[in-house]
Symmetry: C2
Subunit: 223 residues, 2 copies
């Protein structure tokens, strides 16, 4: 019920906070579902475990964010469902065709999410900011992916060019869909880019994501 | 490496303990993978969340058990891989064909695992017993399933008979594969049924599982 989003309870909280937790929650659920499916592409048990662990971590983030929505009197399904189309569009356009693409997507997607959380936490009031930082603190489990991609590139240097293109596509689709969310949810854009003097603005926000994406690609041996 | 199972480190630990943690760990990983896949059968977002949360809980159990294997100097992949065939056989023979079968399997499978953990914890020395009890404490998240199955039966009483047969098959396949494990891993049978005066024996062990299974079927409105 959208009117619940207008009434975040007894605290005079910015309405963008609930919308932010809702879009992050749906993003975590979708990431869990995709990573769990992609773990099955692993050629071996070690990969199933590593990507399965990353998947389960996303569901823990979802649980944390769902608890925040519940604490605001919101039904988690009603609050998150509006974000299903845009996040499904991202995943539909970035479905890995093989294990290496799945690994790169796991690493790049996890990293983009961490950067996004980190930027967002700075823009939030202390309470919601702490929630986002807490979720973020559990995001780092990607050493396995770095090792595997570097091994794959050492064994087969011809993978470098297609995986570099793949990494660029992941970033561009993520930015496209994030901009779509900001364009259609005024309260989110207001929360992130108007309420804070710390954040210089939407352009710089996405430029920062791009810079750190390039660093991650370099860590993988791509780009 | 099987010789590692003979040498569980500096403590003079029963060799069945490491084997027990390994079979439980692989069981949790497989349960995670199956539940994550079955969550996709849900007709709605609420079901995806409920079964996704159950899946993620299994992966947490896996992480706990993997940490115990690592603490014993064992590689988690090498330790758990021998149990892949028997656990895969259980899941291959109990693949749900629809959402109601998936829900019943999630509930019955979770319950059987909890019973098994509970019985096993009693047979173990204090240290490993506490590990098993700790994993077990996180197993209860099945209220959603009970509500949904009872609703489905109220709407369509013809579901009762096929879902009752399905529940019986889940128990019978679980017992078949558990007996297979005990028959081929002497150290496990010795740990569970010889080292303890508390447990009356393998027959009573499986009878106890059957009694509690019948109670769970009744909770669902089946049987």
């Amino acid at each position: 019920m959208s009117d619940q989003l207008q009434d975040p309870g007894t605290t005079a909280e910015h309405p963008g906070v609930a919308a932010l937790f809702a879009v992050l929650a749906y993003g975590e659920l979708a990431a869990f579902e995709r990573l769990a499916r992609e773990a099955e592409m692993s050629p071996d048990l070690r990969g199933r475990i590593a990507i399965g662990s990353m998947a389960a971590a996303q569901m823990r983030h979802f649980d944390d964010l769902a608890a925040e929505l519940a604490a605001r009197g919101l039904d988690v399904v009603e609050a998150t469902a509006p974000f299903e189309p845009v996040i499904s569009r991202y995943h539909a356009r970035t479905t890995p065709r093989n294990w290496n693409e799945a690994l790169v997507k796991a690493y790049i997607g996890n990293g983009l999410a961490a950067d996004f959380y980190s930027e967002v936490a700075r823009a939030l009031p202390a309470g919601p900011g702490a929630v986002v930082s807490e979720v973020l603190s559990d995001t780092e489990r990607s050493g396995f992916v770095v090792d595997r991609i570097r091994e794959a590139l050492a064994t087969n240097p011809a993978l470098r060019s297609p995986l570099t293109l793949w990494g660029r596509r992941l970033l561009s689709e993520a930015i496209t869909q994030a901009q779509e969310v900001l364009a259609t949810r005024d309260e989110l854009a207001a929360l992130l880019f108007e309420a804070s003097a710390d954040l210089p603005g939407v352009t710089q926000f996405f430029e920062s994501l791009q810079t750190r994406h390039a660093e991650r690609m370099a860590t993988l041996g791509l780009g």
